[in-house]
């Protein structure tokens, strides 16, 4: 819980520049710039995909061409030129690596520079007695390092890159891909369907509690490369899995598009806990550069008594457009959304969740903490929908906003649609500022201004931070402090 001290050190190290702002020079194997059917065929061929997958991609592409970018979010950006983007880039490797020794050492150094938590560096280095976190490293677009596969296999857990899963378990992928986020869902999700490069596939068999936290680090690394990750997690009856996703990206001037899709499926009595720490490059102090992060994340609680819990700490990206949602189909199923979104300088975040109550006795809980500083805009946008046939539904929503300074904005846009009179819906919202009294109190005890802000902000975000797995909690606390650097004094 004492991250402030470490935050100070990190801030000192930073001295005003983005820590992850460098680019490693692993050669990329590009598809030609721009998007057309040929590029999609190239991607599919590169991955040696079955015909149905290519057909699926092409179908999505045809849909996408007739769609338009959504404009309802409280964000603005110059038009994206989709013909000026590389849709596929992968590190050059003659064959797939058989072990970590065969992984490009440049990549391992990359993780080191990223300051990936020590525990996980140890895992990557194969240190004995290191905590068991399996890292499926997604570097640019292709998974190049997978650890602990054997132990997971023993438990019957499938944890693969999605390309590999398409080759090894095509029927399983085919059954669930697009079943939670339909191909036509939204502009960015449809684009992802057409061009997704790689991502993660997880299957937890019946009754299995996944023996370790599964972790994937995402990273954009090639110039002008869109990142189109695809993640699919299936928790079969009575199983449990906790999945950690964290990301950083190197500094560059041109905006980068990121349009990921994550689909979760929980069957009877299954539970999925999905945690994200998002730290993509946010752009510089003047709003130049930064990642455009248009993500579609959705989980289906298909089974009775199933549970899906989203926890996110969003500190990065120039634009965050993201609504991790739960479709509560199974009776007694539970959906949770815990979010901390920090915006500083010129960042824009429009994020929240959708809780769709279809089954009886379904429950949902939303805790959203928005922190705005600089000239940023931070919007919570959330939908709670109770279908007519859903009896005895409950939802609790709490949206708190914290403002630093007087040039930023905090907005709360809740949508509540209730079609069944037995539902109980609660919504609480607060907006506050860090007070001078709080700052002075902390400083009079020895904290400098940045530390004081980090302390108050971490306290404000505590209800969400405590939902993070331990491996992430400390790093995330530091991030909050670092992200607000320069917002006071």
């Amino acid at each position: 819980m004492v991250a402030t001290a470490e935050t100070k050190t990190q801030i000192d190290e930073l001295t005003g520049t983005y820590k992850h702002g460098w680019s490693s020079d692993i050669e990329s194997d590009f598809a030609p710039k721009g998007l057309n059917e040929e590029v999609i065929r190239f991607i599919s061929a590169k991955k040696d995909e079955p015909q149905w997958m290519l057909d699926w991609r092409l179908k999505a592409y045809a849909m996408w061409q007739k769609m338009e970018e959504p404009d309802w979010a409280m964000i603005s950006h110059p038009p994206i030129d989709y013909q000026d983007i590389y849709f596929y880039a992968a590190p050059k490797q003659k064959d797939g690596p058989k072990s970590l020794d065969e992984v490009d050492p440049e990549l391992l150094r990359t993780y080191e520079k990223l300051g990936i938590p020590l525990a996980e560096q140890e895992v990557l280095a194969g240190v004995e007695g290191a905590p068991r976190i399996a890292v499926d490293a997604v570097f640019d677009s292709v998974s190049v390092a997978t650890t602990f596969r054997k132990e997971l296999e023993k438990a019957g857990v499938i944890f693969l890159s999605i390309s590999e899963a398409l080759r090894t378990y095509p029927e399983l992928v085919r059954k669930y891909l697009g079943s939670v986020v339909p191909q036509r869902d939204n502009y960015f999700a449809t684009l992802n369907c057409a061009v997704f490069s790689d991502g993660t596939f997880v299957y937890i068999p019946k009754g299995v509690r996944c023996p370790m936290e599964l972790s994937t680090y995402f990273r954009i690394n090639a110039e002008n490369t869109g990142q189109f990750e695809r993640t699919l997690i299936i928790a079969d009856e009575g199983s449990y899995v906790s999945y950690l996703e964290g990301c950083t990206a190197p500094m560059r001037d041109e905006n980068q598009l990121h349009a990921a899709v994550v689909e979760l499926v929980a069957l009877d009595d299954a539970e999925i806990k999905y945690s994200t720490v998002q730290n993509w490059y946010p752009g510089d102090k003047n709003g130049k550069g930064g990642i455009y992060n248009f993500v579609t994340k959705r989980g289906a609680c298909r089974g009775k008594r199933s549970k899906i819990s989203w926890t996110q700490v969003e500190t990065g990206s120039a634009i965050t457009w993201k609504y991790p949602s739960c479709i509560l189909e199974g009776d007694h199923s539970v959906g949770e959304f815990y979010s901390v979104a920090v915006t500083n300088n010129h960042q824009q975040a429009d994020t929240g969740t959708k809780m769709i109550h279809i089954g009886n006795h379904t429950r949902s809980k939303i805790i959203s903490k928005g922190i705005s500083a600089g000239q940023s805009n931070n919007t919570y946008r959330g939908l709670v929908r109770v279908m007519g046939g859903a009896e005895d539904v409950r939802n609790f929503t709490q949206c708190d906003s914290l403002l630093l300074g007087d040039r930023c904005g905090a907005h709360t846009v809740p949508y509540i649609e209730v079609k069944n009179p037995t539902a109980q819906i609660e919504h609480e919202a607060t907006t506050s500022k860090i007070s001078d009294d709080q700052m002075f109190y902390c400083m009079a005890r020895g904290l400098d201004a940045e530390e004081a802000v980090a302390m108050v902000v971490n306290g404000f975000a505590k209800d969400v931070m405590k939902e993070l797995p331990m491996e992430f909690a400390v790093e995330a606390q530091k991030l909050l402090g670092i992200s607000l650097e320069g917002s006071v004094g």
Binding site: V2, Q438, F440, A444, R445, L447, D448
Partner: protein, 248 residues
């Protein structure tokens, strides 16, 4: 012997209004000073100014602490150099536990002084010991800083922080106000525990009550932004009997 704190001709304004109007005060190590005075005299302004509240504007005058220009330092630097302000109205910090706050503060000070940070085990031992002396439960240390605390709990918590941070100059701004007799006893025990030859205490109080438990070396009467009278402990009794008007 030089003075630990030397305030000369201090003028301070809050939002353009002059509150302190030429205050002089000298404090030596080992001494306990009490400043008494009516509401609005500038007692709290003096306390906050010494601790480094930014929004308070020093118009004129000098403050030297350990032979250094105190006014040139930020609040957190003053804290690291051993100045502690016991707040009249301690601020709530939701979501931050007392223990976390205190350890972060202690280590922030230690880092500034170039000392090694205190590890969790050593800190807990120290915190337990100090809490026990003040009749503070571990449960209270785990609660969020001042959130939902009663007036007495807040003041005891200030004493807890003072005990752990172990300052050289403690400025206690009406630490005795709103306390029942038991709490007053605990608070005064805390103050007396800090008394030593190399430390000094500046008590700011409205009533003579606290001074029954903590005997000051010097008593000053502050009125309209200036020290108008100074004396020994007997001055406090005189004030209590005759009122500020007559004494000042």
């Amino acid at each position: 012997m030089t003075h630990l704190l030397n305030i000369e001709n201090l003028h301070v304004a809050i939002q353009g209004e002059e509150i302190l109007k030429g205050l002089n005060l000298k404090i030596k190590a080992g001494e306990v000073h009490a400043i008494m005075g009516p509401n609005g005299a500038g007692k709290s302004t003096l306390a906050s100014t010494l601790a480094g509240r930014e929004s308070f504007e020093v118009l004129e005058g000098t403050v030297r602490y350990q032979d250094e220009d105190l006014l040139a330092l930020d609040a957190h630097e003053r804290a690291a150099k051993g100045i502690f302000l016991g707040f009249q109205y301690p601020t709530e910090i939701p979501g931050v536990s007392n223990l976390n706050f205190l350890r972060t503060a202690l280590n922030a000070q230690r880092r500034q002084r170039g000392e090694a940070e205190m590890d969790g085990g050593t800190f807990m031992k120290l915190a337990r010991e100090k809490a026990q002396n003040l009749g503070i439960s571990i449960e209270m240390l785990k609660r969020f800083v001042n959130v939902g605390f009663s007036g007495g709990e807040k003041k005891r918590n200030e004493m807890m922080q003072m005990a752990v941070l172990n300052p050289t100059l403690a400025i206690l701004d009406e630490t005795d106000s709103g306390l029942d007799i038991d709490a007053l006893k605990v608070v005064s025990d805390g103050i007396n525990a800090l008394r030593s030859a190399d430390k000094a205490i500046l008590l700011i109080t409205h009533y003579q009550r606290l001074l029954d438990y903590v005997t000051p070396d010097h008593v000053h009467v502050l009125a309209d932004g200036k020290i108008v009278r100074s004396g020994g402990p007997e001055l406090a009794h005189e004030l209590e009997e005759k009122g500020y008007q007559a004494v000042a």
